[in-house]
Symmetry: D2
Subunit: 409 residues, 4 copies
């Protein structure tokens, strides 16, 4: 039986677990050590550490304290790992905690986090997803059911001091361009809610003062939210500190490309069974700056898609220059609008795009001035036919069910 | 035998072919008419109308007159089509012209068009790709060979006058923000090289003065450069004018997501066998603004990928806010750098990313301040193993072959 | 432009074409020669040489002279090929003749050929399939349309004298166990309808007297009718004679595993673009007796299946021992019966299983006394939903259309 | 948390578990009851109930008492199920027991069970496979590692008395044709080792005397050993008795089509999470005799294959008539012989074909007198390149490792 090196108790506060942390800092002590070639299991909280409940009230999403996320399990020290190595991590399997066979998706209030389409969906909403073995469905979004492409939203190794300083410097410089923006452009270190693993006292306070927030993906990987970095995939991580310091969390039962709803994918607590190995000096040998990975040989075969296009012209008809974000926004809005013709509310459509295995492709990025992005909606996840036809569309849903909403107080 | 409604002679100038045009304008007369339910064949020039040659000299790429593109076959009138309808176009098959069984990929000079990585590749270069049935390979990029996912880079219906006016207005507004930029932010109408199909005299001059350039994708589809809109796919186009006015061109033997090299994919002359049908009033029924489509049931099964990540921090270490373009640029640069470890030149790597069936995914777009984009490189297209390993990498190429380059005069 | 080394004129009798033959014999002269590394095109007749017409009368199927088939294009001599080599044949592309954009499927009369389910379908019937680019549909079987997985039913190299003698001897020994059986157990050489390519006079008569019939697959490959040996695949053929002598014919637009209808798949005239190379001494190096091959990277993605099981108990309830043929027969009959619930006639169901890309798997072959075979019916090829449900099934067809039938005279 | 309705303790004899049985008989009492719509978990023994050990000695395979298999968990009663209904079983998930993260594959002695290639491999041998999350590898077969396509080898509902009588009658009739054959043609009821669940005393003895053996697949499904009936698939079972009586066992971590090694696939103890529903009167509505099923949307994407052909001519050169079993045997032997060129022993090759996700297709079954079967070997499961090339093959293995063998005493 494989050793579970980090356990989490969902009835215990994440901040009480010394093998958990919510900031990136090179001084966080290793939570445990392994050898290259070892395989082991790490349990994880959901990214909020249990802040979102399985109920029909979105006020928890509205009120969440985003300075507390993400609760990561680790860091795991790998013996012999040195700066410049590549740490190979194979995700042998991933699953949900048996006492939490559900997950959540939601949109933050525009005043507390926002999201990709926050201008269209400014209030906190959520949907709850039940897991049925490999499958999931939501009581808040009837008519869809699909297999999960389970993956960690967040995984990576500790930065060294130099890299950490760079992160803080460049992100603060961005914040300084518009420091009062809501939502903010970036999040600076924030000591009071920092959970630094085993660190205590002055050392903890010192590290907490500069510990990088976990929200953005960075050179080390981190919160990449790549849906295809799923169980069965093999990742090659840059190593910056002795022992590497691998941490993981923010597990997703399923996610659409972009994780556009921000809160988030289908978020869950769970466990990761992984195996580690080293390529000594691999960063230079392979010219690696960011992680690279090989996707899993086991993936859902939802190959029937309806594909929506978007271009970089905004809702007001203003032309932007090769802006893929805007093009993808338009593709998402086009898909959401389409889904309403079958009876979904816009919020249900938005939630679905964040939760289901939709693909977001950068389709054209040179044809000035318009970028073209495509959103691939798998049609086999629906229990009815959502393809266009001469006789359609049919409203399969009567509108009696919608996502809970919690307006700002 | 299916009727070929538009023929092109590669030995004749595209501008001499009255069933070809290179601007969008509602007044361009239909080149031919069909009925809903008909299938027919249209031949097309390559997008430049033959400006790029099958040789080892990139000066043709450097000197190309971009005001002349794209040479489109059409418009095809569909009887009974009215504004507000959806025109269903099924791409029954697509192929190369038998007298041009090769294609080209290239990078424009930064001073004449540029491209996605023009700051890294400022000079004109090109690669020539030979077709072997379903497969292609290039004498300029050894060690790769792959099946084509053949598609039209450009396809769509004529805009109406209102839409055309909107396009010209919003694009000019963008140009006005930096009218001397090189490369330009957008291209305004340009009458002298406009080819308006059958139009002649004053009518032609009037339309040419406002005819929209064909480079950007727009609401009607147009130059979307979506590699998955391939033979076998079915597209639902908005109709704006009586008869729809469907035009097609810019055929690609293969392309990577983003068509990052701009000049372009693997560009070819060829033919499209298509079938049209109508959904009356379909735009309102389905809430369609941009085209939607169903991809082909026949696609290459290159399922082994090496995936590169990129984040929105630029080469100078400056932090940008959720900028997917930049993140994809970084992912591309990471992939190019990786390929150099196996012996490819950076230019070969760049060309490969524009030509091979690589995927570009919008992986994370909410984790402030960093967007995360991923570039999926199919490893089965290489004749040797490009996966990372403890013993690698091996330089399979000796550097004796590279892409022709033509420096600015 | 690639050279077409063998041309066929569908208005000319196949027996008048000297680059065509319908028997296997080492003395048939090469129709043309190529070098290793060459690519070239061979045109082919349909397997019957035009005996079956595009009409609604199955008497041509009933009356066909099976001693005349299959009309093969070749043999192609490959310079330097010697016995013991492996001949690599890459199928670069395959297509239909432009003047015959349709194909046929049929069942022979039990008294003239029979078929897999001849006891259930003893009379000649046929269906005609029209090609629409990559797709096909039949006026005789409404409600289905699918992309072709185009392949040669028959391809292989000439046997040497020793191998030919072995074939004739072992097949005659089988015939001798029941020489009057209808349909026969095997077909011996039959000189009068033998077409030996360029051979004339006494030499022709001598070879015709022992030339092996082309119906069965044998060690050299031959009439394997493997649907996955499709365009884009790469085959490694044993070489038995100097020059190899590669012949090809019996092109199929599509076929189900087993080609159960015998007459046949969706049979067509067409062309094959192929490339040849050699592995010297490859038979011994790789221990090759029968051909091996790598399937194409381009295949239809019809991944939604309804799978039918069959076991080796016959219609009378008699138990047979691990008989996969019988198990597959039962699986086929189960599928046909199921399809009748949606309105198809049994004959339409049978024809569909022979024509569409159904899979036939040898699922269990050790669980005495029952073999288990499975038939995989792709559900995406139907224009309506044929999955079982609590509310179904629905008769989508009214029975007004069926396959033409021609009873024995 | 989902209820586990049947638990098995691997340290307890299977015969001591009243919710387990090893014969089919309508009188076996339901082990537990569920409602339509319920999902629940059943744990299972490996098919032998623990007879095969994780060691390097094949004497346990040689000496196994085959009259004791298969140990099935159930029968599960489904409230409201009646004869003529279809029982829908969705396999929500399947996994190995945490205290047995390994499986076994083996060949029986020809004198005790035999197997598909028992004439070539007459002695008992075995290989042990370790599970690493979704993946498996064997210390007895170096150089391969693959993801499991986990499935139950055996699943189905209780027969009624009439069906049971038919089974026994027809199988005895077969046995009677050669009652002393080794291995036997079929296995008749055998009371002494029958485990009839909760049944005791006279009732048990009576039922045991006629309880059908579990080895063959039959009309109800049963031991179909269909590798694609994997987790995520949905099966429609005929119901013969009130309550249906669903039983499951013989879990496989992975298997090749045919389960040619008989002992067996990669056999494991584990658990099945399933959900049941009913289609009232479904057997008649859909014309169902044997189960039908829809495969899982989650499958391994091992799409690169090397395909071996076999025809129905035996090792002595004797011609058989359209015998798919023989053709598949030849294809298997061809593949095994090929693998020896890379350093595998024949026994390793044989074991691999039984264990890995190889496909066995009935490719041609009408081309008298030869059937053609194909064996599809996925090449991505190997850690080295096993494709043919002009420079190969390379012996990657030195022959120092082989499967344990136990000769008959």
């Amino acid at each position: 039986m494989t050793d579970t090196l980090i356990k989490v108790d969902l009835n215990q506060a994440a901040t009480d677990n010394e093998q958990v942390h919510n900031r990136w800092h090179p001084d966080i002590p290793m939570a445990c050590w392994v050898n290259p070639g070892d395989d082991f299991i790490l349990e994880t909280y959901d990214w909020t550490g249990g802040a979102i409940k399985n109920d029909d009230d979105a006020s928890d999403v509205r009120d969440v304290d985003l300075s507390t996320v993400h609760y990561l399990s680790g860091p795991v020290g790998v013996k012999g790992a040195q700066p410049g190595d590549l740490l190979i991590v194979e995700l042998l399997d991933i699953g949900a905690k048996q006492d939490m066979l559900w997950g959540f998706n939601g949109f933050f209030s525009k005043n507390n986090g926002g999201g990709f389409l926050t201008d269209h969906f400014p209030s906190a909403q959520k949907s709850i997803w039940d897991f049925e073995g490999m499958f999931t469905k939501s009581r808040h979004i009837p008519g869809v059911r699909f297999a999960g492409l389970i993956h960690p939203g967040l995984i990576g190794c500790l930065p060294d001091h130099k890299m950490l300083a760079d992160w803080n410097k460049r992100e603060q410089a961005l914040i300084d361009t518009n420091p009062t923006r809501v939502p903010p452009l970036a999040n600076p270190p924030f000591a009071s809610t920092a959970h630094m693993g085993k660190m205590r006292g002055e050392a903890r306070d010192l590290a907490a003062a500069t510990g990088a927030r976990t929200v953005p993906p960075r050179e080390h990987g981190g919160n990449c939210d790549i849906k295809d970095l799923s169980r069965g995939s093999k990742i090659f991580f840059p190593v910056y500190v002795d022992g590497a310091g691998l941490s993981v969390g923010d597990l997703h039962f399923s996610q659409g490309d972009g994780e556009i709803t921000f809160c988030g994918a289908i978020e869950m607590a769970g466990w990761v069974h992984m195996k580690v190995e080293l390529i000594k000096g691999g960063m230079a040998k392979y010219g690696i700056k960011n992680p690279i990975f090989k996707p899993s040989p086991i993936v859902p075969t939802y190959n029937n898609y309806l594909i929506f296009e978007g271009i970089s012209v905004d809702d007001d008809g203003k032309q932007h220059y090769l802006d893929v974000n805007l093009a993808y926004k338009q593709a998402c809005l086009n898909a959401i609008n389409y889904l309403t013709k079958f009876g979904y509310s816009p919020a249900q459509g938005y939630s679905l795009l964040g939760s289901a295995p939709v693909q977001g492709h950068i389709s054209g990025v040179v044809d000035i001035p318009n970028a073209c992005a495509t959103l691939w909606l798998p049609t086999d996840i629906f229990e009815f036919d959502i393809n266009p036809s001469a006789s359609g569309p049919t409203k399969f849903l009567d509108g009696s069910i919608d996502l809970p909403i919690a307006y700002d107080k």
